[in-house]
Amino acid sequence: MIKLENITKNYRFGGGYYQALKGVNLEIKEGEFICLLGPSGCGKSTLLNITGFLDAPSGGKYLFKNENVSNFSDYKRTVIRRKEIGFIFQSFNLLPRLSALENIILPALYLNTDKKRAVEKAKKLAEWLNISEKTKNSIIELSGGEKQRVAIARALINSPSVLLADEPTGNLDSKNAMEVVEILKNLNKKENMTILMVTHDISVSKIADRIIKIKDGKIDENF
């Protein structure tokens, strides 16, 4: 489904460049659950952002569903992102002025889905994630675990083919963290969802089919 060949990413830094990714090769098959491990600043979030079309690579080749998307414009990347990618963040990144339900349906609105249909689907997702009672609540009234469930529902509303999770358990207590991990596992096993997850936590990473370690902007082949 995803094939990264010799992907690099450079950032301007002072007068020169800082290389965040130094030639990453990675293949992710449909339905695979991959965990990216690595210390802070090793480039795993950059890799996630490039995979999720939030950022463009500086070099290399990116094949998504057999299509070369390396040189896609910002608009094309946006279109593919809204249709194919679901994001889950460590700090939830919910919009505080919207209710839980409004947060969930937001990506559907950007995809121009009929609002009624989006709400129906959001309610089903909320039920599945055990947050039905909270859909009308404001985000500030929710607990950490509930917030992350809302964020997962939001990531799933457009039925993406890939779910990208950037340390989804990082801000949760161990009980909620395990529940989130369980949800992701279920999604992968039952729905055959392709998942790429960044984490620090080795215990969390154990649920993955494959663990990839990033070190200094490269995949650590010795891991």
Binding site: L54, Y75, T78, R82, K83, L94, L95, L109, Y110, N112
Partner: protein, 431 residues
């Protein structure tokens, strides 16, 4: 994202940032009020100027015998204008639209029936008088050629139009015109009245339009406003009264309309020549064209118009800068949100639309409230006697609201572009 959703989201933002919204809203509101006021005033002024020119004629020339108080009055000159000079002009230049001789006298008016007495201004005229400056509604008939030829003792009474809505100041400052009060309360048409020592039959009543709609009240030529018109020939033959003319057959002046602005100079020249050939010289007359008279008054009005217009533009411009400033500030407080929206599938244009819609909506709401206040202010000024305000039209509200929305739009394009161009990855990291 659908427009309805963007509007909903914009309204939420406006509601959430109450102080910020109020400030933009307030400046736009002031801009809108001044735009409505400016439009009303400029519309009123230009309408009245064009109406005054239309009513008084585009090629208007006025010829009068010089008076003692004129700068270049010649003591020794014995020449004066008379009715035959007017006839000669008419005969020599039949193409002129109007040649209207006139003579004014201040005489005693007396109504036997009601015993009403008053000194009134009477103007002797020919039927050509009605060709220009005709703003009246005529009851009965006007003076005709038969009246001139036969020196008929007939007259036409002019009745003032009053006010549609009397301004408050008028109740304190204006003296009551007794003759007008009398005309208002008595049916004069068909009645015999005394003017001087002669009986005249009232064959017509000219009703002026209300003051607010009277172009003569805005720009006028000369200060003499007669109460009664009579055939000029009858005046010269029968009417005794106070006049500026020493000779009985003298007239005060001749009003001419060439029909076109462009021919004024030519006719000024040829008419002067004609008078020279008739009287030996033309130094005893003053010849002025209407454009000259209007010019000063119009320059004043135009300066007023420009001043008000500039104030209006500055106000709305300030409103625009307010919106731009507030929008820029909003962007920096919403960087994270922009990042989240971009990650969830918002395109650059979705982000731009969001900010532009917010500003346009602010402009629209400011426009609506500004219009309500603006119209209320205009109604208030109207009640205080500002006759320009009567020219207010509802399309001005629409124009002001559109201007406010346009200001919101223009002022938000740059901030919206800044927001749309934010790097989504960097924005997501922003705390």
């Amino acid at each position: 994202m659908r427009t309805s959703e963007i509007i909903k989201s914009s309204l939420n933002e406006i509601k959430y940032h109450k102080v910020r919204s109020f400030l933009s809203f307030f400046s736009i509101m002031i801009g809108v009020i001044s735009i409505i006021y400016t439009l009303t005033l400029t519309y009123s002024m230009s309408y009245r100027i064009s109406k005054a020119v239309e009513v008084n004629g585009p090629g208007r020339i006025n010829i009068e015998t010089k008076r003692r108080w004129d700068d270049d009055y010649d003591n020794k000159s014995k020449s004066y204008l008379n009715l035959y000079d007017a006839y000669a002009i008419r005969k020599s230049f039949p193409e002129l639209y109007m040649v209207s001789p006139y003579s004014n006298k201040w005489v005693r008016f007396y109504d036997v029936q009601s015993k009403f007495k008053e000194y009134v201004g009477v103007t002797g005229i020919t039927p050509e008088w009605k060709k220009r400056g005709w703003i009246y509604k005529l009851k009965g008939r006007f003076i005709n050629d038969y009246d001139i030829e036969n020196k008929s003792k007939v007259c036409v009474v002019i009745q003032e139009g009053g006010w549609l809505k009397k301004p408050k100041w008028i109740k304190f400052y204006r003296w009551k015109d007794k003759f007008q009060e009398y005309v208002k309360h008595n049916e004069l048409l068909g009645k015999d009245i005394y003017i001087g020592n002669q009986t005249f039959k009232v064959v017509g009543v000219l009703e002026e339009p209300p003051q607010e709609q009277n172009p003569k009240s805005f720009i006028g030529v000369g200060s003499w406003e007669p109460n009664i018109l009579i055939p000029i020939s009858s005046m010269q033959s029968f009417l005794k009264g106070y006049s500026m003319n020493e000779k009985e057959d003298a007239i005060d002046g001749i009003n001419i309309d060439t029909g076109q602005k462009e021919t004024i100079e030519k006719y000024k020249r040829v008419i002067t020549e004609l008078i020279k050939s008739r009287k030996g010289n033309a130094d005893f007359i003053n010849m002025r064209d209407y454009i000259e008279v209007l010019k000063d008054q119009m320059t004043d009005k135009k300066r007023d118009m420009t001043t008000v217009m500039i104030i209006g533009i500055i106000a709305i411009f300030a409103g625009g800068i307010g919106i731009m400033n507030v929008s820029l500030a909003a962007i920096y407080s919403r960087v994270k949100e922009i990042g989240i929206r971009r990650a969830l599938g918002a395109s650059k244009s979705d982000i731009m639309k969001q900010f532009v819609f917010e500003a346009v909506l602010l402009g629209f709401l400011g426009g609506i409230f500004g219009s309500v206040l603006g119209v209320a202010a205009i109604e208030y000024l109207k009640s205080k006697g500002d006759t320009n305000m009567i020219m207010f039209k509802w399309w001005m509200v629409l124009a002001a609201i559109i201007a406010a929305m346009l200001t919101g739009f223009i002022a938000s394009v740059y901030p919206a572009k800044v927001a749309a161009d934010l790097d989504p990855v960097e924005s997501l990291k922003y705390e």
